[in-house]
Symmetry: none
Subunit: 363 residues, 2 copies
């Protein structure tokens, strides 16, 4: 019986075993196939990632180099002084305020501004840089120095491109030499190696971050670098000598200043527009300013043509946004003809302080 | 026979088949196992790479941001001015020359320098920027202004880092108020928003690119931005008023200046070393300078201790590379004790011009 059983069950067991084994093998082989395929995918992904990582590392190194170079250039541009090379370093001077002045352009600014007491300006300081406390005590001085930038110089962009190599003319014409030249550092010409100006003015009032001055020769919009009190025991020198070609030259003296018949009405017309932002209370005050200013010998800047007076030429002076036309004859008599509004200047003046701000101090 | 064969070979065939099947299955399963293990390794490598890549990308982005920011700062530092934003623009001012002065340090510079006629300085201009022709005519003026940089201010590096945001104290102590403070712009303190100084001096001689001055209060090594002629009709104001706390304060007045017995010999010893580069012809001249300088009320800089005279404290004044020691008693009597060579200063002076250069003009 046993052998019959064996001979009956053995083939069945074997078949089942073989079948199961073959099934496992197939499953395993199929899984292996998919696993291998997946591995290939993973390998190629790894390759991609490695390529990306390399390229990113190169990129990062390049950005880093670029950053280091830019920072080095920045440091050079803002170079700190080395004590043995102080001359080559630029000192970046940021203005602390701006001038709002009755003189809208450089033409016609007076040569002896303290003799034009109606020539007013308001210095407006940047409160962030110059807190009002910085000005405390200034009003107790009668006069102060203003150190400013000759911002109207036409060669200023060279200052930024090549700060230590900005060119300028070594010699300039001086009026007193009738066409002759002198070293620029022997004059007060604006066209100097460092375009810094120096002028004194009378301190009228200080309020908050603003200082009202009179007897100025500053042009509207001038950037101010510093304001210092005038100390007579240091700054006023009795009997200081100047060369002959600087002394008062009678040829330039003004004999008289007259206003034409139509002047008053042209001034009243202008006043309606100009008064809102004016440092002056009335058209009469503005007329007084014109008279005081024209009474002065003309500014000795190279644009002034009063060196060669001619009855036929009309000159212009831009004050408080108005264009004042005048002539001067051979005898030095000035006739002020009329005045019209200069819209361009008035537009520029729209943010300025006006007389009304200073009414208490000025009246 | 068939059934015998069958019954003999069948178990063998079955066994072999089963064995082969089982072998294939095992191989497949083992391979699958290893393949799966490898996949895991690949997965974790991929994870690593992805982390590295992310971190590298972040790094790269940060470097890029840094580069862009540095380049923007560089552009801003070299920026040309926009007319509506003049206040924020820095004007890079490059000095045109350096001061070689008898005052080796800031301590002891006189309050009224024009009353110390022996206080000499030689301005040496950079010939590349200031050709000698620029100075032509300057010698015809008796006095001139020097506009310079307060290069010894300790906060100067902020000027370069944040030109438009350099901080300074709005109020400073003034001697005349015994500890009280005033707005810095109401003083001549060096610690101002724009570190620009202004002083007047007597013009002694001009030669080539050098100007010899006297009555100076400039410190040796000071960078000069500009030199302007002194015009009395603009710059000298008769009767300019100053506040009480600025006026001459008798407490600081010096009653007398005496030299101790040992002073002359200590001066002769120093002179052998100092004379080669000195702006003075003889030790006697140097002694006169010391006397003139100490006769003056002390400079009102915050380092001066002469506000609180005490017989027991020895003060020092560094002149022409020599260290002058002196005391001052409660009555304002100054006793100059001795003088020794200051090697550090003399070493710094090795490139300076000396009296011998100016002998013709000075004798």
């Amino acid at each position: 019986m046993g052998s019959t059983l064996n001979s009956k069950w053995l083939p069945v067991t074997s078949t089942v075993t073989v079948a199961l084994a073959l099934l496992s093998a197939s499953t395993a082989v199929i899984s292996l196939y998919f696993c291998r395929k997946k591995s290939k995918v993973l390998y190629s992904k790894i390759q991609e990632l490695e390529i990306s990582l390399n390229s990113c590392l190169q990129n990062s190194a390049a950005e880093r180099q670029g950053r280091i170079r830019a920072q080095q250039d920045l440091r050079k541009a803002l170079a700190e002084p080395k004590s043995e090379n102080l001359e080559q370093t630029s000192y970046p001077m940021t203005p602390i305020g701006l001038v709002q002045s009755c003189f809208s352009t450089r033409n016609g600014t007076p040569r002896q501004p303290l003799l034009v007491p109606l020539a007013r300006a308001c210095l407006v300081f940047d409160s962030a840089r110059v807190p009002p406390a910085s000005l405390e005590g200034l009003v107790e001085y009668s006069h102060c120095w203003i150190i400013y930038v000759f911002h109207l110089n036409t060669n200023l962009e060279k200052l930024w491109k090549h700060p230590s190599r900005s060119k300028f003319k070594a010699k300039v014409r001086v009026p007193g030499l009738k066409g002759g030249k002198m070293g620029v550092l022997a004059t007060r010409s604006p066209h100097r190696p460092c375009p810094i100006g120096l002028t004194v003015a009378k301190v009228e009032a200080v309020r908050g971050n603003m200082v009202l001055l009179s007897g100025v020769d500053l042009v509207d919009g001038t950037p101010v670098l510093d304001i210092k009190p005038y100390l007579p025991y240091c700054d006023s020198i009795q009997g200081a000598a100047v060369p002959e070609w600087v002394m008062v030259d009678n040829v330039l003296a003004v004999a008289s200043v007259n206003f034409s018949e139509g002047f008053s009405s042209s001034l009243s017309d202008c006043w309606e527009t100009a008064k809102k932002k004016s440092l002056y209370a009335s058209p009469d005050e503005l007329q007084c300013l014109i008279k005081q200013n024209q009474d002065q010998e003309a500014s000795d800047n190279e644009n002034s043509q009063v060196c060669h007076p001619s009855g036929d030429v009309t000159y212009h002076l831009i004050l408080e946004g108005t264009n004042v036309a005048y002539r001067i004859d051979f005898n030095g008599n000035v006739t002020v003809e009329n005045v019209v509004v200069s819209s361009e200047i008035l537009n520029r003046n729209r943010n300025r302080r006006s007389f009304l701000e200073w009414r208490d101090e000025l009246s």
